[in-house]
């Protein structure tokens, strides 16, 4: 018996297990009742686990949602940054357009007001090789010829060195080979402006004894037969004595200080007067002189005959008297220096130097 059970152990266990389950099933079907205890235990065991799972799931999903939100926020941030960059570029473009329009308007206004016949041109490139020359988009077919002056509303810019059919080459004012006749506004000193290869230009051939002040303006003199007289060239920012007879006067060229994008070519130049240096006179308030105290302070002025101030005057007076026979007037020595009056706290001070204006 034992050997039979051992031999059919597997099938025996299967039958027993299946039979037990069938009985359980039959009991449930027959009695139409559940087995509440087992299900209750199962549910009681399952619910805590399900709670944990639900907690893990909700937290994980929440984390994923937050991560997703973060990713979306990063995407949105990236998109917004891209949008900002695009708008910034667009803004810059519009600003440039506006500045271009402003320059074109200023150029047009200057062109209309100037008595010279001017032709507007646009700078389209730099000449290679280190020279301070540019190309403009107007050429000989527009009436441009070599030697014509190139200006901006702020001053002279250069001159045409080569004219081609559709473009021209402009030698800028700052090039060392550039030269033009200039005149100062204040003392009317003539000189020759030369480029230095950098931002400032040098006015040559101004004698050392000629007074040139910093801030003074120089205009074209018309001597060079290229630039019409009366165009602004630049303002003095440095004056120093030269090695020989001429001083060195450095100007800041006015025609180039806003950059060079649009220029005017002087087709037919008309000379204009060089404007006077205008000093700005600001009103300076001074007080009334202080009242004289009694007794009066000793006279400060020496008692001298009228017209005799110096030894030469005295000699001249004696000479005149000798010729006419009258006694010569004697000079009276000046009185000792009177005691100085107490300084007034409201004494006027010298006016500050005013910057010259165009």
């Amino acid at each position: 018996m034992e050997s039979i059970l051992n031999r059919y152990r597997n099938i025996t266990v299967l039958v027993i297990v299946l039979g037990a389950q069938l009985l359980l099933l039959a009991y449930q079907v027959k009695s139409r009742q559940e087995v509440p205890a087992i299900r209750g235990w199962a549910v009681a065991a399952y619910v805590p686990v399900a709670k944990i799972l639900e907690g893990v799931r909700s937290n994980t999903l929440g984390l994923l949602d937050r991560y997703s939100d973060l990713l979306h926020a990063q995407d949105r941030n990236r998109n917004l940054n891209r949008e900002v960059e695009r708008l910034r570029l667009e803004n810059q473009f519009l600003k440039t357009e506006l500045a271009t329009a402003d320059r074109a308007k200023a150029l047009s206004l200057f062109q209309q007001r100037s008595p010279s016949r001017l032709l507007a041109a646009r700078v389209v490139g730099m000449v290679t090789g280190g020279a301070r020359e540019v190309f403009i988009d107007r050429g000989s077919k527009d009436g441009i010829q070599k030697g014509m002056a190139v200006i901006t509303p702020d001053g002279i810019a250069g001159k045409i060195t080569a004219a081609y059919s559709s473009g021209a080459q402009v030698l800028l004012l700052t090039d060392p080979s550039f030269g033009a006749g200039v005149i100062s506004t204040k003392s009317r000193i003539h000189g020759t402006v030369k480029g230095q290869g950098h931002g400032s230009v040098l006015v040559e051939y101004i004698p050392n004894e000629q007074p040139v002040a910093v801030g003074e303006w120089f205009f074209t003199s018309g001597d060079d037969r290229v630039f019409p007289k009366g165009l602004p060239v630049g303002r003095v920012h440095l004056v120093r004595p030269g090695k020989m007879f001429f001083q060195e006067v450095f100007l800041t060229p006015s025609g180039l200080h806003n950059g060079l994008e649009e220029v005017l070519v002087v087709i037919e130049g008309v000379h204009q007067p060089v404007p006077e240096q205008q000093e700005v006179e600001q009103p300076f308030h001074t007080l009334e002189p202080p009242p004289m105290d009694e007794p009066a302070a000793p006279e400060a002025q020496p008692v001298t005959p009228a017209g005799i101030d110096t030894d030469a005057d005295e000699i001249l007076a004696r000479y005149k008297a000798a010729r006419s026979g009258a006694p010569a007037p004697k000079a009276v020595p000046p009185d000792p220096i009177p005691e100085p009056a107490p300084a007034s706290p409201t004494a006027p001070t010298p006016a500050p130097a005013q910057p010259p204006r165009r």
């Binding site: 597997n10 299967l14 297990v17 359980l24 099933l25 299900r39 199962a42 399900a50 799931r57």
Partner: protein, 172 residues
Amino acid sequence: MTEFSDHLLGQRGRPRRRRIRPIAFLIAPLFAILFQVYAPRFAWQLGFLELPLLVTVYFALLRREPVTGLLIGCFVGLAQDVLSHNPLGVFGISKTLVGYFAASLSQRVDVENGAVRFMVASFFYFFHQFTFWVLVSSLLSQPFALGFLETLLYGVLNAAVAVPLYALLDRL
């Protein structure tokens, strides 16, 4: 086979029995049942997965003992019954049979190969569904539609899941 043939074949002739960690015995069926209860709540597409069956087949194949296999199937099936609307014993009987026959099969066939595992998993899915249909419709007289194409498709899908799942369980 006789003792002589066993002696001649040695250990290579008979498939080796693998040891299973007790924790894996506990965790894997529990996870499978919880997955079947929990996952379709959020992803109804996962409702076709019969993970308790696949786990039962895996442990039965691994243990290569029919008694162990049928007991594993019995416990997994009853646990599944507890959390289902069926009377206790429907899944239990089905999976008891699956465990028994899977373990019996593993005594004769080496089931380490992925293709074999695929075929075994799909076969026992069909067998399980058929048994379940018989029990429900015959014993309980409850309507249960067993669509052929649907069962075939789900069998293939379950087998496709079984192969990587078994590879994962091999590492436990």
